[in-house]
């Protein structure tokens, strides 16, 4: 259970901010990325196969057995997968909306900004584990628990990155807009909001893997349905093949979501010149 807290600090907001500043980043050949991914996967599978010859199957089953387990899960447990995905989508969507709103206020409201900022800073210092335990006390409904846990964990990432985005906006652009005497809303609509879209994408991409891990943990603590609860069941019934099969599926899920995000981003941010760093 100490893991979520540790993972949380490894994706600290300051690192996200630094990554934002480094954009546009280099995108080396996608073909090469794919090849590397395949090579590494095959090597890992080979290593599993070799290991499975030397240790009993309840320690490391053969990849073939795990593959079979994957197929079984995909036919029998589809419901659990979709529940987890829905929870993920709801929590990420809501944190994004609220986080962007808070980030915008932090960056644009001289009166509210500092207070929201302190609130978010304090939130980032609270370990994910604390939220999980507190959620068990506060909420009876498992959906409410999971939604609450994910939201309080993800929201500060969005808020801080959007805040960073607003602050990094060139003053020259603001002056240019102001020469036309825009309303506050027009300034938001034509300048601030389009500018922070890239920060929202960046945040989502760097947070999605973490969000998947968190939703699994939250399900483990709080719910009887969903991938997390199924994994816990597999563990208590000594089915390591199922545990590994779920793990495999989660890794694939992360990859699929990442590439989907990349695809959408490439479309939405097509105005951005990709810098090629060699």
């Amino acid at each position: 259970m100490s893991q979520p807290a540790r993972t949380a600090s490894s994706v600290t907001p300051s690192r996200l901010g630094a990554r934002a500043a480094a954009r546009p980043a280099a995108r080396p050949g996608r073909r090469r990325d794919l090849t590397a991914l395949c090579v590494v996967s095959v090597l890992l599978i080979l290593a599993m196969e070799v290991a499975s010859r030397f240790v009993p199957p309840f320690i490391m089953p053969s990849p073939l057995v795990v593959g079979q387990a994957v197929l079984e899960l995909l036919t029998s447990d589809w419901h659990h997968v979709s529940v987890t995905l829905l929870r993920l989508a709801a929590a990420v969507g809501f944190s994004m909306l609220l986080g962007v709103l808070i980030g915008l206020l932090m960056g644009t409201s001289r009166r509210l900004g500092p207070y929201l900022n302190s609130l978010v800073i304090i939130d980032t210092g609270i370990p994910a584990l604390s939220w999980m335990l507190v959620a068990v006390f506060w909420f009876k409904d498992p959906e409410a628990r999971i939604f609450f846990i994910l939201t309080v964990i993800l929201l500060p990432f969005y808020a801080l990155n959007v805040y960073e985005g607003v602050r990094s906006m060139p003053k020259e652009w603001v002056d240019m807009m102001e020469s036309f005497r825009p309303s506050r809303w027009q300034l938001m609509r034509y300048l601030v909001i389009p500018h922070i879209v890239q920060y929202v994408f960046m945040t989502t991409k760097s947070v999605i893997g973490y969000a998947i891990r968190m939703v699994i943990f939250a399900e483990l603590v709080a719910s009887a349905v969903g991938i997390g609860s199924r994994m816990s069941l597999a563990q208590s019934t000594f089915r390591i093949d199922y545990v590994l099969a779920w793990t495999f599926l989660l890794v694939v899920l992360n990859l699929v979501l990442q590439s989907l995000l990349n695809l959408v981003e490439r479309h939405v941010l097509k105005w951005r010149a990709e810098a090629k760093v060699r």
Partner: protein, 275 residues
């Protein structure tokens, strides 16, 4: 014909921009020092000075994006920084850097001012396309900013300013950023447009030639910004190469630049910079 430095006095009524003893500090740094100047309606006035003289600061003061420490600034009868919205729809600026928004295409950038002034989408688009054509950007309307060259971006920014049909236009080093041929073509095009529709224009430049080419009057600024020479350029003077060369020398002297290479025919000394 004799290029006389004429101290300019105007009546209150036809003054569009009026600056009286304006000073501006940035921290301890004095950027504008007791500057007084007047721009009348329908005039093209050049602010000429070395890089760092404070020309852009004077422009920001008249735009109202910064306020003076001392003195008064009136534009169209209002204080541009305190009565910020009084100039809504009356003023447009093409800045020293293009300041285009990268997520908008050329035409989307050009129509930005009109959208802010609540014109309909179709009206804004139509006007933007019209002005892009006038600055010779046909075919590039739907390109994103990163696909345009520096000169093209500068022209989009000019179109963005002209499209709102302002009474008062500020241009900050717009021409001096371009190559000389493009600069001259665009400059003359621009001055024709401005005179046709009777607009008032203040343009900032560090190139004497640019100023002599289209300005009715020239304010030469010292650093920190203070008027060290004010003169008028008539159409007659503009057609007389010798008179122009004299004016050129006079200005170069006022700025304290080296006058030895000051061209005798401004058309052949285009690439002489003060920067």
């Amino acid at each position: 014909m004799n290029p006389i430095a004429t101290p300019t006095t105007t009546t209150q009524s036809d003054a569009f921009i009026e600056m009286r003893d304006v000073s501006k500090h940035f921290g301890d740094f004095l950027a504008v020092d007791q500057l007084s100047m007047t721009v009348r309606r329908g005039e093209i006035v050049a602010l000429l000075g070395r890089t760092g003289a404070g020309k852009s600061t004077v422009m920001s003061l008249s735009m109202g994006t910064i306020a003076p420490d001392q003195g008064t600034v009136r534009v169209g009868g209002a204080d541009p920084s305190r009565e910020f919205d009084a100039l809504r729809g009356k003023m447009a600026v093409a800045f020293q850097t293009d300041r285009l928004l990268p997520w908008r295409t050329a035409v989307e950038n050009a129509e930005l001012g009109l959208l802010i002034l609540n014109h309909s989408k179709s009206q804004a688009r139509e006007a933007a396309l019209h002005w892009l054509a006038r600055v010779k950007l046909e075919g590039a309307e739907h390109k994103y900013v990163h696909e345009l060259s520096g000169g093209m971006r500068q022209r989009v920014s000019l179109a963005r300013a002209l499209a709102v049909d302002p009474e008062l236009i500020f241009l900050d080093e717009v021409f001096s950023q371009l190559d000389h041929v493009t600069s001259q073509v665009l400059r003359r095009d621009f001055s024709r447009i401005v005179r046709e529709v009777g607009k008032t224009c203040v343009f900032v430049t560090h190139r004497i030639e640019d100023a002599l080419d289209i300005a009715d009057r020239i304010y030469v600024l010292d650093a920190p910004a203070r008027v060290c020479l004010a003169l008028s350029v008539s159409e007659q003077t503009r057609r007389d190469p010798r008179a122009l060369a004299d004016l050129h020398d006079q200005i170069a002297q006022a700025i304290g630049g080296d006058t030895e290479s000051a061209g005798h025919d401004p058309n052949y000394s285009e690439n002489q910079d003060l920067s």
